[in-house]
């Protein structure tokens, strides 16, 4: 492949992912509302389009038509920059997540991942840590006490939970002996899913992912009863939409990461034993990846509408006194597995 072909193929992949992602985010908002309605015995949005399917577009247009208000006391530059940091981080992370195995298309070998970097997991961790800046800047630059409190809470929370998140990932890395997401997925062949091999690590990772994405029960940065709107209190119109988008995009990333690291990524156990042809296998595998991600997304929403919010001290207690030791315990467990079974 010449350099131009590589560039064009990459651009096509990027375009596909971005468009798909934007659509998914739009419909995530729709499903969030629908699921919350179902859980509360309601019907949910059903007026715009068939079963309310055009609701996300109505929401987006409404947001974009609003007046963009910047508070007088705000630091204008940072106030504008913050949502873009949040968005950039949310979008850039998709690059390293493998959606499916390598396929042959028009004589080209195409990896179903935008960038198969060998430090993919580190890249994701680094970028999601940068996401804190978006929220902290938003909180600080708004010149409002509620925003500031939200921003400070968020940074404290994300830093605490990043520790246990990192240590849970260490267990995965020990087993796959690689930082590349593709390798990690390949290492989970058959039923060797990390969720089954290291359940403690799975639980700590999922809980930390909830905290990282600021979703309930850990959505303290935007706890409405206490902080009005949290870090985005002073945002409106497109900038608010940016934060909104970033939150849901982060949720998708978290689900994809959980799928990749713990649920065997695009793998379907023993599908190669069935003797299906190549194309069908790949399609099924991509389908499996999307299904697993969708299930995790549903789980995120399901939890949001079931479990009440933690108090702030409980959140910190849980992070440092429970999740952190548990993730350490998980590393020991994985080490024992490797020692005993020579995995």
């Amino acid at each position: 492949m010449s350099i131009w072909e590589v560039i064009i193929i990459s651009l096509i992949k990027i375009l596909l992912i971005v468009v798909l992602m934007l659509l998914t985010v739009a419909y995530l908002v729709y499903f969030e509302r629908k699921i919350s309605a179902w859980i509360q015995n309601r019907k949910g949005p059903n007026r715009v389009g068939w079963h309310g399917l055009l609701q996300p577009f109505a929401d987006v247009f409404k947001l974009l038509l609003k007046e963009d208000i910047v508070p007088e006391k705000a630091n204008k530059a940072l106030h504008t920059l913050a949502p873009f940091i949040a968005l950039f981080v949310a979008f850039a992370t998709y690059a390293v997540i493998p959606i499916g195995p390598t396929i042959e298309l028009f004589g080209y070998k195409i990896n179903l991942v935008v960038a198969d970097v060998n430090i993919g997991v580190l890249y994701v961790l680094a970028l999601t840590s940068l996401g804190v800046y978006g929220i902290t800047f938003a909180g600080w630059s708004s010149g409002s006490k509620y925003s500031l409190l939200g921003g400070v809470r968020s940074s404290a929370q994300m830093i605490s939970y990043e520790v246990s998140m990192g240590f849970s990932i260490a267990g995965v890395l020990l087993l796959s002996q690689s930082l590349s997401p593709t390798k990690i997925v390949e290492a989970q062949y058959g039923w060797m899913w990390n969720a089954i091999l290291q359940p403690i690590g799975f639980i700590t990772f999922v809980v930390s992912a909830f905290a990282e994405t600021n979703r309930l029960p850990f959505d303290l940065p935007e706890a409405e009863p206490e902080l009005v709107g949290g870090y985005h209190t002073e945002y409106s119109s497109f900038k608010f939409a940016g934060f909104f988008l970033a939150e849901y995009a982060n949720m998708i990333i978290a689900s994809m990461m959980i799928t990749t690291l713990y649920l065997g990524g695009y793998q379907i156990p023993y599908i190669d034993k069935l003797g299906l042809n190549q194309t069908l296998t790949v399609l099924l595998q991509v389908g499996a990846f999307l299904f697993k991600t969708a299930f995790m997304l549903f789980f995120f929403m399901w939890v949001r509408w079931s479990i009440p919010r933690f108090r702030y001290d409980q959140l910190m207690n849980l992070g440092w006194k429970v999740m952190f030791p548990l993730s350490l315990l998980n590393i020991v467990w994985v080490a024992v597995l490797i020692m005993v079974f020579r995995l």
């Binding site: 859980i39 509360q40 079931s306 479990i307």
Partner: protein, 165 residues
């Protein structure tokens, strides 16, 4: 130092959180498949029970005359001062009738005192809850809007006879 055992102390299983969380998740999952209680308002309308206090109306007898004898008790008891009655004489058996009977629906608080105090069962609370007006003037309901045939109000009148002492 002895620590007092509190009534609310959690057991070990409760402190693990996970079983309790799963219990909660199962509950919400079950709820998702239950029939919905939403009423899709403009198409489906709520049919209130007889005890419902909607817009106060004047009872119109079958011969087209209102029951009201313009004693003014309703207007006297109204805590929001929403009712205005102007009495006049008539050749009919009841001798008095309201020449003017106005309820300001912006003031009305739907307390039902007027209905309770009425000696003639002439003003009752209807089931009408859709009250929309474009300006303040049209919020003042005169006799033309207040008179409702007695057969439409039978439900409420029966209710009152049963429970009003």
């Amino acid at each position: 130092m002895t620590t007092k055992k509190r009534f609310k102390d959690l057991t070990f299983w409760e402190r693990l959180y996970i079983p309790v969380i799963i219990k909660g998740l199962v509950l919400t999952l079950k709820t998702m498949f239950k029939p919905k209680v939403t009423m899709e308002y403009p198409e489906v309308k709520f049919e209130p029970p007889a005890s419902y206090r909607g817009r106060p109306v004047l009872v119109q007898e079958k011969n087209g005359v209102e029951r009201c004898v313009a004693c003014g008790l309703c207007s006297r008891v109204c805590p929001a001062l929403a009712i205005e009655v102007q009495a006049a004489e008539t050749e009919l058996e009841k001798e008095r009738f309201p020449q003017k009977f106005e309820i300001n629906m912006l003031r009305c608080i739907f307390c039902g005192f007027c209905e309770e105090v009425c000696p003639e069962e002439a003003i009752v609370m209807s089931k009408d809850y859709e009250l929309v007006f474009q300006d303040r003037d049209s919020a003042i309901f005169g006799k033309d809007k207040l008179l409702v045939p007695v057969e439409n109000l039978q439900d409420r009148i029966d209710f009152l006879r049963k429970f009003k002492k």
